[in-house]
């Protein structure tokens, strides 16, 4: 009934999306590790970066300046978010923290809408600064958009650097300790503010990179930019196992790759119920392995009753 066409082209595109989602998963997982906070507003950081790119290209800034501005804005927003929202709420229950990030997400999205309506009189802004990234190069008969290659390279490099940072430096060790047991880590002299600030900054840098990559893929920036991607990545992160960074990353990559393959492989009229199939699978995985598909053993945070 369902005729799936999975070819090299499709796989390469899916790999690119998977790489971007893996990066987002790292950003969400890093903050969750130290704060036990699912940052729903992560997508709005990316959106802010995308708008910076869009407005910079409207003002005819050179590409490097636009990208630099994007990193600056996203980092500044991340730090403001940590000081103004995460820090006062650090001791609250996960539900309160999650809803607080909803509120921040909602706020940032409405601010974006307000600015766009005011300046533009329409719903979105095209970002042409990074447009050359979406051009294709042909390798062995497969059209690969440059952004796909760049996404893969960025993801591999970022993950490699992160592995070095977490595994080979003192602050990385402290972060891992804080992620395992925050209270004990603090008793042993780990500065809570320092590790949290570092996690937030790293997540912010990744968000800015993702903003550049996503804008190259879909150059029309609207206020709900990256919102749907964030929800999908969150699902992927929990399905993969949010307790540990690499299982979360793998979950993000898997769901990005899967939706890439599925979207590309099926004709549109056949794929209307695919979200249902995908989410039924998500429910099944969660029922069988509530701590995550790739998690090891039983977790203390999530268990069945």
């Amino acid at each position: 009934m369902i005729v799936a066409v999975v070819d090299a082209q499709n796989l390469v595109d899916a790999l690119g999306l998977g790489a971007i989602y893996a990066l987002m998963a790292v950003g969400i997982g890093l903050v969750f590790g130290v704060l036990r906070l699912v940052n729903f507003a992560y997508g709005q950081l990316i959106m802010a970066g995308a708008f910076t790119l869009a407005y910079a290209s409207r003002a005819n800034w050179p590409t490097w300046a636009a990208v630099l501005a994007c990193f600056g804005v996203v980092l500044a927003l991340s730090l403001i978010m940590e000081v103004a929202v995460f820090r006062p709420l650090r001791t609250q229950s996960p539900a309160v923290m999650l809803v607080a990030t909803f509120a921040v997400a909602f706020l940032l999205q409405s601010v974006a809408l307000l600015i766009v309506l005011k300046v533009q009189g329409q719903l979105g802004v095209p970002a042409s600064a990074v447009a050359q990234l979406s051009r294709a190069v042909t390798i062995a008969g497969v059209d690969i958009r440059k952004v796909t290659i760049v996404s893969l390279v960025v993801a591999v490099v970022a993950l490699g650097l992160l592995a070095v940072l977490l595994g080979r430096t003192t602050i990385g060790l402290q972060m891992r300790a804080a992620a395992t047991d925050f209270t004990t880590a603090r008793l042993l002299g780990v500065s809570a503010n320092r590790v949290i600030a570092l996690a937030v900054v790293l997540a912010g840098v990744i968000a800015a990179a993702v903003a550049v990559l996503l804008t190259a893929r879909t150059p029309y920036v609207q206020s709900d930019f990256a919102l749907h991607d964030t929800i999908i990545v969150l699902v992927g992160v929990v399905v993969g196992g949010i307790e540990r960074l690499w299982t979360a990353t793998l979950g993000g990559f898997a769901i990005g790759f899967a939706s890439g393959v599925i979207n590309g492989a099926l004709p549109t009229d056949k794929s209307v119920y695919l979200p249902s199939a995908l989410f039924t699978l998500v429910i099944l995985v969660l029922l069988i392995r509530p701590a995550g598909l790739f998690a090891r053993g039983r977790s203390s945070v999530v268990e069945r009753v």
């Binding site: 309160v96 509120a103 429910i283 029922l287």
Partner: protein, 351 residues
């Protein structure tokens, strides 16, 4: 005083909602719709509270029960003669029959309950984040099916010509019913057992409470009330698309609940009324309103202000405006006591 406390706890939310209804009835038709919306959102948020507030488990799925209820009530009350034209593809059972207003509420409640029970049997084994994501998956699946399957509804199109029976009276009565049921439930043995699992699951299990079963009852009851609230909603708006009761409603109703105070019925009611009140007022201000001076806000300010209000409330008062406590007149009693003592003291000194 102790014996009358439950009555006071129930009376607080009921009087507040009725007062909003009565005030709304003195306003023009254009303004009354804001009051209706606020009261219907009370019903939606209280239905959500029955599960989230009592169990302490986060659910993103309650909007799907509201939308199923809304669709059931909507489709079955559109007159048969207009359904042949607007819903040509639906099952003959749905196309060739129509029911009255009252029965549509019964149907919506029953469907909401049945769907929640069915979904809850496997899902209520989960806690924490896994439960949150699994209920979000239910919301996505429900939306996907309602959006695509034209045999059970209009699909991606608009369901219209639904009788608009929810005026202020029906909205207020409906919200009072939901509040009453929620209050009754949280005082029953089942409700108290569930609240015990919220405070300490291990201790609750140790005294023989089945966490799964108690969560399931609350989930099903919450599904029933959500379905009912969905019917109230659809009879107020008169038309329905799959996107109306979806992510935005989920987030907004959760935000209302948390802002009011997750762990109390009073919090659910106050949060819903406050957020929708601010929302409507600013919506008016965007098109210009006179409050002593002329206030004209640019389009989009409404959302910014609501978002800022939510964020600020949570940062300044993380346990919500009511602090998660039920309505009480303790401050009044305390004030009276103070007055009596103040009056008594000089006499004591004099004697």
């Amino acid at each position: 005083m102790t014996r009358s406390r439950p009555l006071v706890e129930l009376a607080g939310p009921c009087v507040l909602v009725s007062a909003v209804g009565i005030v709304g009835s003195f306003t023009s038709n254009a303004t009354a719709i804001y009051f209706q919306t606020a009261i219907v959102s009370v019903a939606i948020v209280v239905a959500l509270y029955v599960f989230v507030g009592n169990s302490g488990v986060l659910s993103f799925g309650q909007a799907s029960f509201a939308s199923v209820g809304a669709y059931a009530a909507g489709i079955m009350t559109v007159p048969v003669e207009s359904k042949v034209g607007t819903l040509p593809d639906v099952f003959p059972l749905l196309r060739d029959h129509a029911i009255g207003n009252a029965w549509s509420f019964v149907l919506a409640t029953a469907i909401g309950a049945a769907y929640a029970l069915l979904v809850g049997i496997p899902l209520m084994r989960l806690s924490g984040l896994a439960a949150g994501i699994a209920t979000l998956a239910v919301l996505e699946i429900t939306h996907n099916i309602l959006h695509e399957w034209t045999k059970i509804g209009p699909g991606a199109g608009l369901l219209s010509l639904i009788p608009e029976t929810t005026g202020l009276l029906q909205a207020t009565a409906g919200a009072l019913v939901v509040i009453g049921v929620a209050f009754w439930y949280q005082r029953t043995r089942l409700g108290r057992q569930l609240r015990a699992t919220r405070e300490d699951p291990a201790a609750a299990q140790a005294v023989g409470i089945s966490v799964h079963r108690q969560r399931l009852w609350a989930f099903a009851l919450s599904g029933a009330l959500s379905g009912f609230a969905g019917a109230l909603y659809v009879h107020m708006i008169g038309s329905l698309t799959a996107d109306q009761l979806y992510l935005e409603l989920t987030f907004l109703s959760l935000a209302m609940l948390v802002i009011g105070g997750v762990t109390s019925l009073w919090g659910a009611v106050v949060g819903a009324l406050l957020v929708s009140g601010v929302d409507s007022f600013l919506g008016q201000a965007e098109s210009g309103v006179n409050i002593g001076f002329q206030l004209d806000l640019p389009t989009g300010t409404r959302l910014v202000a609501v978002g800022a209000l939510m964020a600020l409330t949570l940062i300044l008062r993380p346990s919500g405006i009511t602090g998660g406590r039920e309505f009480s007149l303790r401050w009044l009693e305390a004030a009276r006591l103070r007055r009596v003592l103040a009056a008594a003291r000089p006499r004591e000194e004099g004697s």
